[in-house]
Subunit: 339 residues, 2 copies
Amino acid sequence: MKRPTIADVARRAGVSKGAVSYALNGQPGVSEATRRRILDIATEIGFSPSSAARALSGATANAVGLALCRPARTLGIEPFFMELISGVEAELSARSYALTLQVVADPDAEIEVYRRWWAERRVDGVLLCDLRTEDRRVPALEKLQLPAVVIGGPEHTGNLAHVWSDDAAPLVETVEYLVALGHRRIARVAGLPSLQHTRVRTEAFTQVCRRAGLTEAVTVWSDYTGEEGARATRRLLSSAGRPTAVIYDNDVMAIAGLSVAQEMGLAVPADLSLVAWDDSPLCRLVHPPLTALGRDIPAYGAHAARLLLAVIAGQPASGTQDETAHLTPRGSTAPPRSH
Amino acid sequence: MKRPTIADVARRAGVSKGAVSYALNGQPGVSEATRRRILDIATEIGFSPSSAARALSGATANAVGLALCRPARTLGIEPFFMELISGVEAELSARSYALTLQVVADPDAEIEVYRRWWAERRVDGVLLCDLRTEDRRVPALEKLQLPAVVIGGPEHTGNLAHVWSDDAAPLVETVEYLVALGHRRIARVAGLPSLQHTRVRTEAFTQVCRRAGLTEAVTVWSDYTGEEGARATRRLLSSAGRPTAVIYDNDVMAIAGLSVAQEMGLAVPADLSLVAWDDSPLCRLVHPPLTALGRDIPAYGAHAARLLLAVIAGQPASGTQDETAHLTPRGSTAPPRSH
DNA sequence: CTGAAAGCGCTTACAG
DNA sequence: CTGAAAGCGCTTACAG
């Protein structure tokens, strides 16, 4: 099958290629009647402008890049990324933008991908995930002047546009809720310490615990995988004066923690209360269902995509705050039995 | 920052643009010394050829398309797709191919995406997932003559290349294992009946149960979500002569089933054995860990990507069989208590 | 082995 | 409002 070109449309419409181009792009320069006729013919013969030719003529690539810097096994298991991608995609495809995805091994490889995308003119802009505290990717993108939106922040984003969610408030809400239930020994299994949002959460946790007069607030570090989440939980539950409540930085670790509690013969929630960050269908899948901190992740992705398209269109970089996660109490939290 | 072009490289090397092109693409026509010098200069000034210009000159788009036709909420929770994407990506990026992703609402929208990608020359080929029994997408792709690899089969793939895995043998292995444990009432919670691999599994299940003399082999239909998996399990466990073992078509439904069993006061595996298809880290996350049918999904994706690149390079469409899933017994299967 | 030139399919000033 | 033409940055026959 031969692909139709703009010349085919022009010939059948009896106009120049330029006129077809104007008609297709909604530019002035053709009469309304002619535009209508041209569009009808284009639809009829199944014409879509070549993205390559369009990109080459100085227009945009009509594509946006997303590099994911996580090992394959954690990428698959965390619903977060797919939900984010769904939201990004919904927004992009509504505007006929393509999403180019690449999985990278580390931040330096990611910078290399950005450089190549830029040099190849393959994308008009990129979305940056998993913001770190000293993030080399931010100055690299600024230097390339490649339009970008950081999914995270609001700090350490340089001059880049960003969409962020308050990570401190939900933790405060959760600790106060647990304290109200009567818990005094609350622990937290945190995600990767190199990530900026982990730092924000850790600081918030420390502060709210101090404010509530809890002396035994302990944070242990993990990497979002079930294995590490289980190991951290085992360590916490084996210690003298074990916690009566644990807050996890993602759903996967919380489910692993629930499993460890059951394996150690502890009843949830009577002996141990559990709270998961990243509420997802996984949290409702287990027994008891997990109390969780959640928000609309596809909407977050859509929000970021919309902002990126605005930046590509030339609007100044801005930071906008997205919805704050809220606590949904379910069966995994209750007053401690000893209380 | 101005992006370097082939002309910049040519100027600094003191050769023509044509020579640079030959050097970069490993074509004959330049001496080895000149090629070396040109490549060094290209690296030095950070040159990568414009993908648009390349695509326009009749070369390839250097991109491959993947359309996902599942609602956002199931996409996120099933590790399968992200693992598949990781594998596809690893293979593609090693050859400097980009992956273009699009989430679509239904098969017709998916065909429309293919048609647009083809007309825009945006991709050189596509990967097709979730093969159906009467799949309109297959003839549509054949008509477009867009290189394609079906992830599934080996039937109903038309003339398209495909990578498939035997869906019957693992089910036979599982049923025989359960029968050997002493189970006589085995049920199956199946995935979407419109998918080809569901049909293959259902037929295999019916046959092996008949062969083993099981009269009560029952299949109930679901949609891969935890909600539906839970509902199907509740129905099965409430029936007279409830099964002593249940096989699920994915990990998410199996975990939901485990939760329902616990909620109904049934001990797993003493009162009820559970087997999950799609072994993933999720299966090891719960308590007891789930006996599961698994195989290397990233490798499956890599395999499909490699085949697609071969088809794009002009090799004839072929069907190749991938690894067969194998059973990993864990804590969720045992002889039935009543036995 | 190298250079000059056409052409891929668009967009966009520039004349009419 | 429309047409003819240049140009985007490559690739690839075609001469030398």
